[in-house]
């Protein structure tokens, strides 16, 4: 396990060796390595294959901008595709495999694409695969899809946990390079609440990669000291391994902190934390990214960015090659040569394009062997360090559609004037490309910001001394030639593609991106976009700023979907609301069903019952014959009080409400302002100025919202107040011929006789010897029925008390299914009928809508399309052959008509098997249904392969006169 390319020095910990595997081979690295540096230390230059041509690829960079060195990390459910080796912290036992090849990495079968390249130019797929037509779906596309994509998901659920967190600060500093550290120190010393975030596991940025000195000490040591000082400040929070991935409205920043990715296992701890950071001000010190130049075969393993070469040598103590050539268009070339020489690495050549020199080609199929100069001279080299200049990392400045502007002197885009509000930029990200300038910019900008926030920065220590090294650049973008020169390495976009795209009229930058896929790969073109723009500018004879600009969308680097979701998955996807009788129901054989946020009992299983129908039939039968009890607490309950409460109700309900006496309940029909039915329920008048309204379960929150709108926005001076009391009261329906007898045992001192407490009466009372309660005589089942409410804390005791009191009558608990069967038998509308598309008239409630008052929805309910002939009407339906089952969702057709939408006569909304009638029944909307009683039509249900003759009947199957509920 030798590391033939390991050098002396650097910031890795040689006392802590780590063992890892790449494509099954066991290799060694050190604590402080990235996977990329460890691979290079072991001489592994070939790391993956490119997207389209399957070209052999190595490591280009030492940071998040890496386009080539993507690996699959781990195996099994935790396997992680497309992971950048350059930012993957090495840990013991790490397993990585290369991606995007058929057969072994060295002998990829699909590298045949490289030979076919002339026929695979930009957008070739838009121009072919069209003949014969059927081949696209059957042959061409499946082939393309199988070849596409890079890494692979395991297909198993992500086993890790992700957390979400919220942080607040005065100043968020993004990036802990020299500018960021100096800024954080400045703001921290002034007393501001600072968050300093850096994506790296070691603070310092380029200070760790270069041989800079600050205040006479090594740059990396200065960074260490700065970190140590910041760590002593209570008002500063340092977040290493944390990427600020997006800048959103009003200073909200998204951050991803990697907590356990660098450890062999998560041990149950969150893998990552997605922070939402609320920052009064933000300071972007994200540094700059180096770019390459385009020349023939510039994509071979061994061709690296010069800054990355220095990072591997200086920070990681790894030689990227034994004989390194340098290609540069700026003063960084000299720095690279110096650093390599200091480590005793041979310099093959320094090619400075400012001297008119250039690299025109390279050789070496699976790794660089030589470069060819313009003069035709070939120079042996196993590494070529390319410096095409630096592009400030303006990404976050673009997240609110800010546009960077071109600066000729540094040949780069810098942040434009339209920054996200509250954001400033300092250091290399702002175009301050020398160390001294970056430190000063960080200091000055932070001073200005904290001053604005009201913090004093008196007596700051002297600005750290650092060199103001030369960074002169003469842009050099690309060497023209007949061979392919890569711009976007991952997506295999070459200068030829850009030229062709321009010829075909895709001359705007956005067209170029879309047509060639330039900048659309996992690296989002961090090293490619400016180069691509320059090549396009050249092709079109314009300057770069005339050609366009490069903008970026969030996220800055890719963020796992699991992190965005956090803990909201599986059963925790959404909160679960449990009605007050839940524990009792669970003890008593309930089967539960999700209804919106609630978990409700759908039926209760008893010994000997073979299926759910047995349970439901029994519950219905027992309720109709004796008495049943159902938890109806999920219905929305709104407490309405005030001198104008009656007036308010009269305006929000379509039917009259001014004259409801105290002690009485009324059915209320609520419309939306557009005149369609919104909701229904009952409202009880408990006292002169005190009402309680119920809504449907589904609309509880929505109705409350609209009532508050009416109260606050439409009639702000009505004396009325609303409180949602849904969760405050446990409410049980007690229904059936023995309901009165049962309740007489539960309710204290109240005459429940029909005269004293008739249908639609209500009162406050006590139950079981003094527990406060409310009693309503209302019926959804059509039986003699009551609803009794107690404060929620007594809900559990109440169901137990009621069941005990009901024992002598054989009382049954019933669930939502029996509830539904009984309401269908009774012809009451529920969710399937109150679906927001229906009118009161269609529900058979048209006459309830009072025309003499200005209630919500009254006016627009009278539009011609809602009052004309041929309207739908809610009807009852039953199969002509009583043994057949109906299905909701079947359409209604006239016998003999063609089955198309033009002949559609309506549809079935709800069905039930009625134990009361012994056959299937249904409700449904039928065109002109009210005039078609007794007619036979078809229930047409092709998705379930059924076509059933049904008879149109009254929707009120059960006790249409209502004698039972009034009895």
């Amino acid at each position: 396990m030798s590391q033939p390319f390991r050098l002396a020095g650097g910031l890795t910990d040689r006392s802590r060796p780590l063992v890892f595997r790449f494509n099954g081979t066991v290799l060694q690295g050190y604590h402080g390595d990235t996977l990329a540096s460890a691979l290079l230390a072991n001489g592994q230059r070939l790391v993956g294959r490119s997207f389209k041509y399957h070209r052999p690829r190595g490591i280009l960079t030492a940071g998040p901008e890496e386009p080539n060195a993507l690996v699959q990390l781990g195996t099994g459910p935790a396997q992680e595709p497309n992971t950048r080796a350059t930012v993957t912290e090495l840990y013991d036992g790490l397993e990585a495999t290369s991606q995007n090849h058929r057969g072994p990495l060295e002998w990829d079968l699909l590298s045949v694409n490289d030979w076919l390249a002339p026929f695979l130019s930009a957008g070739f797929y838009y121009k072919t695969f069209m003949w014969p037509k059927s081949f696209w779906e059957k042959l061409y596309e499946p082939m393309i899809r199988a070849a596409a994509g890079l890494g692979q998901l395991s297909g198993a659920p992500d086993p890790d946990v992700y957390d979400h967190g919220f942080l607040h600060c005065d100043l968020l500093v993004t990036g802990a390079g020299p500018a960021g550290l100096e800024a954080a120190l400045t703001a921290g010393r002034a007393g501001a609440r600072v968050i300093l975030a850096d994506e790296d596991f070691r603070l310092g940025g380029r200070l760790n990669a270069e041989t800079y000195e600050i205040d006479g000490m090594a740059g990396a040591d200065w960074a260490r000291a700065a970190e140590a000082e910041l760590a002593t400040m209570d008002n500063v929070r340092i977040l290493p391994r944390t990427t600020i991935y997006g800048a959103f409205d009003h200073g909200v920043h998204g951050a991803l902190e990697r907590r356990t990715d660098h450890l062999p296992g998560a041990n149950g701890k969150p893998r990552q934390i997605l922070w939402r950071i609320y920052a009064k001000r933000a300071l972007l010190c994200a540094g700059a990214t180096e770019r390459s130049c385009a020349f023939a075969n510039n994509d071979r393993p061994g061709v690296m960015l010069a800054g990355a070469v220095r990072a591997y040598v200086n920070r990681f103590g790894v030689a990227p090659g034994k004989r390194v050539a340098i290609l540069t268009n700026n003063d960084d070339g000299r720095r690279t040569a110096r650093d390599l020489q200091a480590q005793g690495i041979a310099i093959a050549a320094v090619v400075d394009t400012r001297d008119g020199a250039a690299v025109v080609d390279t050789r070496g199929r699976k790794g660089l062997r030589s470069i060819t100069l313009k003069s035709g001279r070939r120079i042996l080299a196993d590494c070529l360090a390319v410096s095409g200049g630096w592009s400030p990392n303006v990404h976050l400045t673009c997240h609110q559609r800010g546009r960077p502007v071109w600066r000729d002197d540094i040949a780069a885009f810098v942040p434009g004037p339209d920054l996200p509000p509250g954001m400033s930029v300092a250091g290399a990200a702002n175009g301050a490309l020398t160390l001294a300038a970056a430190l000063k910019d960080g200091r000055d900008t932070a001073t200005h910001i904290v001053g604005n926030l009201g913090f004093a920065t008196s007596n700051p220590p002297a600005l750290p001394k650092a060199e103001d090294e030369a960074c002169a650049i003469t842009p050099f973008w690309h060497v023209k030639g007949v061979k392919r020169a890569w711009v976007d390495l991952q997506n295999d976009v070459t200068t030829k593609d850009i030229a062709q795209s321009h010829r075909e009229g895709f001359g705007s930058v956005e067209h170029l991106k879309r047509y060639t896929t330039l900048g659309m790969a996992t690296d989002q073109g961090k090293t490619a976009n400016v180069l691509g723009l320059a090549v396009l500018a050249e092709a079109s004879g314009r300057t770069i700023p005339e050609t366009g600009t490069t903008i970026f969308r969030p996220p800055y680097t890719p963020v796992p979907i699991g992190a965005f979701a956090g803990r909201a998955r599986g059963k925790q996807f959404r909160p679960t609301r449990l009605p007050p009788s839940h524990a009792w129901a669970a003890e008593n054989g309930a089967s539960f069903v999700e209804t919106g946020a609630w978990l409700r009992a759908e039926w209760y299983v008893r010994d000997g019952e073979k299926g759910w129908r047995d349970s439901v039939d029994r519950e219905v039968r027992m309720t109709r014959e004796s008495v049943g009890i159902c938890d109806v607490s999920t219905l929305g309950k709104i407490d309405i009080q005030g001198r104008d409460a009656a007036e308010f109700l009269n305006r929000v309900y379509a039917n009259p409400f001014l004259k409801l006496p105290v002690g009485r309940v009324r059915y209320g029909l609520m419309l939306r302002e557009d005149g369609f039915v919104y909701d229904d329920g009952t409202t009880a008048r408990l006292a002169e100025t005190h009402y309680v309204m119920t809504t449907t379960t589904a609309n509880a929150g929505l109705v409350f919202r609209e009532l508050e709108f009416a109260r606050q926005c439409l009639w702000p001076d009505l004396d009325v107040h609303l409180i949602s009391v849904t969760d405050a009261w446990a409410q049980y329906a007690v229904a059936g011929p023995n309901a009165r007898a049962l309740l007489s045992k539960a309710v204290d001192d109240l005459d429940l006789s029909n005269d004293a407490f008739p249908f639609m009466a209500c009162t406050a009372c006590t139950v079981f010897g003094g527990t406060p309660a409310r009693l309503f005589r209302i019926s959804f089942s059509g039986e003699l029925a009551y609803e009794v409410a107690v404060p929620s804390r007594y809900g559990d005791a109440m169901i137990r008390g009621l069941m005990q009191a009901g024992e002598e009558f054989g009382a049954v608990p019933y669930g939502t299914e029996a509830l539904s069967v009984m309401r269908i038998e009774k012809g009451h509308a529920a969710g399937a009928e109150l679906n927001g598309q229906t009118t009161a008239r269609q529900l058979g409630l048209g006459r309830m809508v009072a025309q003499t008052k200005d209630a919500i929805g009254t006016v627009l309910s009278q539009r011609p399309g809602m009052t004309g002939d041929g309207d739908l009407r809610l009807m009852g339906l039953r199969p002509v052959d009583r043994s057949r089952q109906l299905n909701a969702g079947a359409h209604i057709l006239n016998p003999g008509d063609q089955a198309d939408l033009a002949h559609d006569q309506g549809w079935i909304t709800s069905v039930a098997w009625s134990p009361t009638f012994g056959h299937s029944i249904g409700l449904g909307f039928v065109r002109n249904g009210q005039d078609r009683l007794g007619e036979t039509v078809r229930a047409y249900d092709p998705v379930r392969g059924k076509d059933t003759p049904v008879e149109i009947v009254s929707p009120h199957f059960y006790d249409p006169e209502g004698a039972r509920q009034r009895g």
């Binding site: 979400h164 997006g246 997605l274 705007s508």
Partner: protein
């Protein structure tokens, strides 16, 4: 230039130097028979069908930016004809039929890929609502199957059947649903219209309408005045802005819909899948990226970007329904500005101003409608009567009380 495999082969041998412009870049003429405002999907398809089906070629398409810079290049590329209401379903089925013959009709491979769409259901009520919809689809010949859980599990085994907060009970399946390469649709229509002589004018922003005596006779643009016998505005996302230049207020609000794509992955999702208990839908592109989205942000906006709560909501939906995507990384998020109408349905209609027509209000469903929208708009312009399948898309439907409200959400745009 006719595109074919042979052409690619010959060009490949000669260095790909012979490819010409996909569409011309003409100077505006002073007058046209028809001016189409908006060089997005609907404007370009209108131009294509006018010139290729209705024989009208003295036509210009005016685009304020670059061609296809609106929602045609920002959507999640899904096509389907799985609507419920009579006003909608036949229209979307026409669109599906046009998609199916599109590539041959404009000689451009837009990669129409009918890998199927699955709408998951999570309760009996939802199943029945889907049955009603599926039956309506069958009645227009769109094809639909109602799958139970066992059938679904066979097709997509990776969903969270066991541990879901809202149990996955089955799905409505339209085998003909799928995806299309969105940018290529714009380019293909542009090329097809251009080849018939339609002028496509980029960087040509309309700054006013010439209206006299209730009739519109032309437009003022950043490239000069252009006269026209008929003018149609196809600028969804900016409809209110453009139509306000003609003094009109519309039953439309502008909202942002975000969309997301992951890093490229080997094929893992077979077709389109939509979650029925949250806001999430997903497909996988030919390049391997998971393309997904969810609900609109909910506030009026013209900024083509959204905010974090919806990003998280969408990813929560994704993890709830298919927790295998946790380790796929979200690569890019973006937003498109939607014309959200008062009932969630679009408009293809004349206005009260003579010679001025309007196409808009597509909400987040405009992409799949692109071919039929263009076809029906061309029909309306060419024959001055609505195409039967688009006859319900009138501007006065709220006055008449016949909204086309698929969701039953009422006259509040951000609820559709």
């Amino acid at each position: 230039m006719h595109y074919s495999a042979l052409k690619i082969f010959l060009e490949g041998l000669t260095g790909n130097r012979g490819w010409g412009r996909v569409w011309r870049e003409p100077e505006p003429k002073p007058a046209y028979d028809i001016v189409i405002v908006g060089g997005g999907g609907h404007g370009l398809s209108t131009a294509f069908y006018l010139s290729n089906e209705f024989g009208l070629t003295n036509v210009a398409v005016l685009e304020k930016g670059w061609l296809g810079s609106g929602n045609i290049g920002r959507n999640t590329t899904i096509i389907r004809s799985n609507y419920l209401l009579e006003g909608n379903q036949p229209f979307y089925e026409l669109s599906m039929k046009l998609w199916e013959g599109l590539e041959q009709s404009f000689n451009y491979n837009a990669m129409v890929s009918q890998r199927g769409i699955l709408n998951l259901y999570h309760s009996d009520g939802q199943r029945d609502a889907f049955a009603r919809r599926g039956n309506a689809m069958r009645m227009t010949g769109a094809g639909a199957e109602l799958l139970d859980r066992a059938q679904l599990e066979k097709m997509v085994p990776f969903l969270d059947y066991e541990n879901a907060r809202f149990p996955i009970k089955g799905a409505l399946y339209q085998p003909r649903g799928g995806t299309v390469r969105h940018d290529a649709v714009a380019w293909g229509y542009a090329r097809g219209a251009d080849r018939k002589g339609v002028d496509i004018l980029q960087n040509c922003e309309v700054t006013g309408f010439d209206i006299a005596d209730g009739t519109c006779t032309g437009v003022q643009t950043s490239r000069g005045a252009i006269r026209a016998k008929k003018i149609v505005v196809c600028a969804a996302g900016s409809s209110s802005r453009v139509m306000s230049l003609a003094g009109m207020r519309l039953p439309i609000e502008s909202h942002v819909l975000q969309a997301f794509v992951s890093e490229g992955l080997k094929p893992v999702i077979p077709g389109v899948i939509t979650f029925g208990a949250g806001h999430f839908y997903i497909s996988q592109s030919d390049k391997g990226g998971l393309v997904f989205g969810g609900d609109i942000d909910g506030y009026n906006t013209y900024a083509q970007r959204g905010n974090l709560p919806v990003v998280e909501d969408v990813c929560e939906g994704g993890m709830a329904v298919m927790p295998m995507i946790g380790r796929a990384r979200l690569l890019r998020m973006w937003g498109g500005v939607m014309d959200m109408s008062m009932d969630g349905s679009p408009f293809i209609d004349r206005t009260h101003i003579g010679g001025l027509y309007f196409n808009g209000g597509w909400c987040y469903g405009g992409f799949k409608a692109t071919p039929a929208s263009g076809y029906c708009t061309a029909h309306l312009l060419a024959k001055d009567e609505p195409h039967p399948v688009a006859a319900a898309y009138r501007l006065d439907r709220f006055r008449r009380g016949v909204p086309i409200d698929e969701k039953g959400a009422g006259a509040q745009p951000n609820l559709h």
